[in-house]
Symmetry: C2
Subunit: 314 residues, 2 copies
């Protein structure tokens, strides 16, 4: 693993290789090795429905932070993102100058077909970027579904982006999205309906339990014209400061580590189950019994669980 | 549990109560009790992006099947569905006559905030409807994310609905969606672009591994005007016949039961972990060590897993 040293120095090829190795699971020790060097990067999640302009927003936020001499890692999980190659040619070209900057590393996570494990892969990729010395990691996700909410968990600040015209599908998504939002952005703020959307969101936020000391700002941007970005970046920084001063950053990161430990144990036990405990022939026999309604899945599952926990498995 | 007898007779109040009891987990034995009476209903999944007209399609399919004297259960998981109360008033009124029919039971699953467990709740609700004597269970889900793909797993036939104007967000979603589709429907087929969408889908389907004996039909409907529904329903029935004759229905349902057993064992072990194995104070101490980068989550998770599997937990 000669490339670990290069990774820690921020070498782009080493970063790319390490993420690939982690994704493919070809080297199970990498994450353990790099873990001591993590915990320094600040994670910002940018989430919202397709067409909300998330990647344009990521683009302009990154450019703003680059001017402050920061190193930026970008992970695009949204399959419609220009970063991940899902959008129009024009968008993709616009992104290229960012990718060429020596202080930026962009990675898109393939969600094609394998949604399971995507949240995990994203968290691992973020860990690699963290170890590589990034100051900020921007994670762009489409704001629908469990996977995306899982990814939001890894972020210190989550920015939820909405647009006026997203209409009632957004209405619905807001439910889950509002709960993960630290900052709300109404993008394409020059369009009709943006002010009434802001009003709506204010009402929705009033119903939400307030965190002491944080007032859930709702900002208006027009990312494509770089309008409102200065305020957005400074609001993200205010949130960072708020978390640091109130010691919530430590607290929340520890809570996330606890969740991570639980996930890892569950994964361990899952693979143990698959490899050792469940005898394939025996299970097939039991499934036949269940299929004939002579037994039921709950009963069988309880019996197998007992076996595992009595240490007879393996 | 006096209402179980009523449930088996198809009493609507009993169905509603049983689903609620299952959702709330207030009676853990219900699923075991009703399981022997399940396995008869045919499960049809209707999935696709918001605005594809899924619930209109469910509506007209249900009406068609009602004419054949079938009993229909409908589960709406899509938060934008009129069935689940997310859409316009006009839509909701249109649905009401269906809900009043004595051979129809409609249930919408709340996804608000609690996406985790939603797939599970939906599968359990489907089991209740199955036990209540439904001939068909129609499950409407928004076609994004892991939860929806999980729900698709419970269905015998999965119909994926797309519309011409969904554009490139659909492009992206197609990847995951095409893999679960048995039948593709281009709805709002009177609109511009529907024929070119069909062409695109044909190309995409050609790249897919073909199942022997099933050719993945791509149909055009205009659900709101009841156009193309006859053909869709008869195609669903062809798929049913194909599955039955080739014994794939048995096979696939057994595979699903096997997955279910694995899920149940994982759930059992999860709750065991939470209740017994992980000592809270000890874990807090370990998390502090990890947070200080003096240890790492992978190592700690492996140690705890070992404890569990050596039977020292509990």
């Amino acid at each position: 693993m000669h490339y670990i040293q290069n990774l820690l120095k921020g070498n782009k090829i080493a970063i790319a290789r390490t993420i690939t190795a982690v994704e493919n699971g070809t080297d199970s020790k990498i994450l353990e090795e790099i873990f001591p060097y993590t915990g320094k990067a600040y994670h910002i999640g940018i989430t919202g429905p397709p067409g909300a302009g998330k990647s344009t927003l990521v683009n302009v936020i990154a450019k703003k932070l680059l001017k402050e001499n920061k190193k930026i890692g970008i992970i695009a999980v949204d399959p419609t993102s220009p970063f991940s190659g899902g959008a129009l040619l024009g968008d993709r070209i616009r992104m290229t100058d960012l990718a060429l900057n020596e202080n930026v590393f962009i990675r898109s996570m393939a969600s094609r077909g394998s949604l399971g494990g995507l949240a995990q892969k994203t968290k691992d990729a973020a860990l690699v970027l963290d170890a590589s010395g990034m100051d900020y990691i921007l994670i762009e996700t489409i704001g629908v579904g469990q996977v995306e909410l899982d990814i939001a968990q890894v972020c210190d600040t989550t920015v939820v982006v909405l647009v006026p015209e997203s209409g009632d599908s957004v209405q619905a998504m807001k439910a889950g999205l509002l709960e993960v939002a630290d900052i709300l952005v109404v993008n394409k703020g020059d369009r009709k309906g943006s002010d009434s959307l802001i009003m709506e969101l204010k009402f929705a936020f009033e119903l939400r339990e307030q965190k002491l000391g944080w007032h859930y700002p709702i900002l208006k941007t027009t990312a494509i014209e770089n309008i409102g970005i200065e305020e957005l970046v400074s609001t993200i920084k205010s949130h960072k400061e708020y978390l640091e001063k109130s010691h919530k950053l430590d607290e929340e990161r520890k809570t996330k580590l606890t969740l991570r430990i639980h996930e890892l144990i569950e994964e361990n036990i899952k693979s143990h189950l698959k490899e050792y405990v469940i005898n394939k022939d025996e299970l097939e026999f039991l499934i036949d019994k269940i299929y004939q309604r002579k037994n039921n899945p709950y009963n069988i599952a309880n019996e197998i669980t007992k076996k595992v926990l009595e240490g007879r498995g393996g």
